[in-house]
């Protein structure tokens, strides 16, 4: 199925970039990949193409420009430059780039919205009691 292909295509890329920066693994989807379902991942995720479902990530989530995401997103830092529909939890910071589109309720610790970004939904700001990224 579509999903399997997307994963298997993406994994080598992710593996190549493994142990980057802070030593966390990286899962990268390209513009032609798609993912449907639940993903729990220890590391960073970059989403391009089309994604639907639920993403729970210990590291960061980056949504590339042009990507279309319909999902619940949960991560430390979330950076959105594409289109996202769904609830979003950022344990640390959410950045909406200037062409980002986000509709959904968000809960974040810090928030940065650049001019030109679009946001519709409820915003809640505050610390997360459970589960800091550092443990």
């Amino acid at each position: 199925m579509d999903v399997q292909e997307a994963v298997s295509q993406s994994t080598p890329v992710g593996a190549a970039e493994e142990a980057k920066r802070d030593g966390l693994r990286k899962f990268t989807m390209g513009p032609n990949d798609s993912l449907e379902g639940k993903l729990t991942y220890e590391g960073h995720v970059t989403v391009d193409g089309r994604a639907e479902g639920e993403f729970r990530v210990t590291g960061n989530i980056d949504v590339a420009p042009g990507a279309k995401v319909k999902a619940l997103l949960e991560a430390s830092n979330v950076t959105i430059r594409g289109e996202v529909e769904g609830a979003l939890n950022a344990r640390d910071k959410l950045i909406l780039g200037k062409n980002a589109k986000l509709s959904g309720d968000i809960h974040v610790r810090r928030l940065q919205i650049e001019d030109g970004a679009s946001l519709n939904g409820h915003v809640r700001m505050g610390d997360f009691e459970q589960q800091g990224s550092g443990g």
């Binding site: 319909k70 619940l72 529909e85 769904g86 609830a87 939890n89 910071k93 509709s103 959904g104 309720d105 809960h107 810090r110 928030l111 940065q112 919205i113 650049e114 001019d115 030109g116 970004a117 679009s118 946001l119 519709n120 939904g121 409820h122 915003v123 809640r124 700001m125 505050g126």
Partner: protein, 223 residues
């Protein structure tokens, strides 16, 4: 040496107008004839303010502020009011609904607690914001007339100590203009100024947030 002096004395003269043109002119010049109102950090306003022009607020504000121009909230400002303007710039504390026909900016020193209807939104890192966001030109046009967040309480003049009321020397000292019976601001109007944010809960409800949320008119003050 002399040639140098002439050159250098010329250069700044030739440059000044150009560099001045590069810089954005101060707001007062830019707006030309436009009216501009400023409330300093020690000023206080409780009630409604409608301004045909720009407003800059630095003190304590309660009620409702509406401007045809821009609204600027300074660092030290404590605003418990609904705000409406073209560009709205928040660097202080605001709690209340905000409508920005053009753009709302919450600077890093700013905090905003309330629902917003904006055409464009900028939130700088470090700013604090909680509330519902409705974005786009349509959301702004659909915005209801901003309602006062805190209804001004009609305090009977009798109860006031003489010194506290800066009344103009009235001919009859003990003739307060009878407070209208119809407008005793109920306590509910005050409590309802902003629903607590926690109530929203952490439910990851994906489909909930679509569509402009029309907040029901709460505690309409009868007149």
């Amino acid at each position: 040496m002399f040639a140098w002096a002439t050159l250098s004395s010329r250069a700044p003269g030739a440059r000044v107008p150009r560099s001045a043109a590069d810089q954005p002119p101060p707001p007062t010049e830019q707006s030309g004839e436009r009216n501009s109102v400023t409330l300093g950090p020690r000023d206080r306003l409780i009630g409604e303010l409608h301004i045909d022009g720009d407003v800059r607020l630095g003190g304590t504000i309660e009620g409702q502020v509406e401007a045809t121009g821009d609204v600027e909230i300074d660092d030290e400002a404590k605003v418990t009011a609904s705000l409406a303007g073209r560009d709205v710039n928040i660097r202080g504390h605001v709690s209340g609904h905000v409508t920005a026909r053009k753009r709302l900016t919450v600077a890093k020193s700013g905090s905003l607690n309330g629902d917003v209807r904006v055409a464009r939104l900028v939130i700088q890192d470090g700013a604090s914001f909680s509330g519902n966001v409705s974005m786009g030109a349509a959301a702004v046009e659909a915005a209801p007339k901003p309602q006062p967040v805190v209804a001004p309480e009609p305090t009977p003049a009798v109860a006031l100590p003489q010194s506290a009321a800066p009344q103009p020397a009235a001919p009859q000292p003990a003739a307060p203009p009878a407070p209208p019976k119809t407008a005793p601001a109920p306590a509910a109007a005050r409590d309802g100024n902003r629903a607590p944010v926690e109530r929203g809960g952490g439910k990851p409800d994906t489909g909930k947030a679509k569509g402009p949320v029309t907040s029901p008119p709460k505690g309409k003050p009868k007149r």
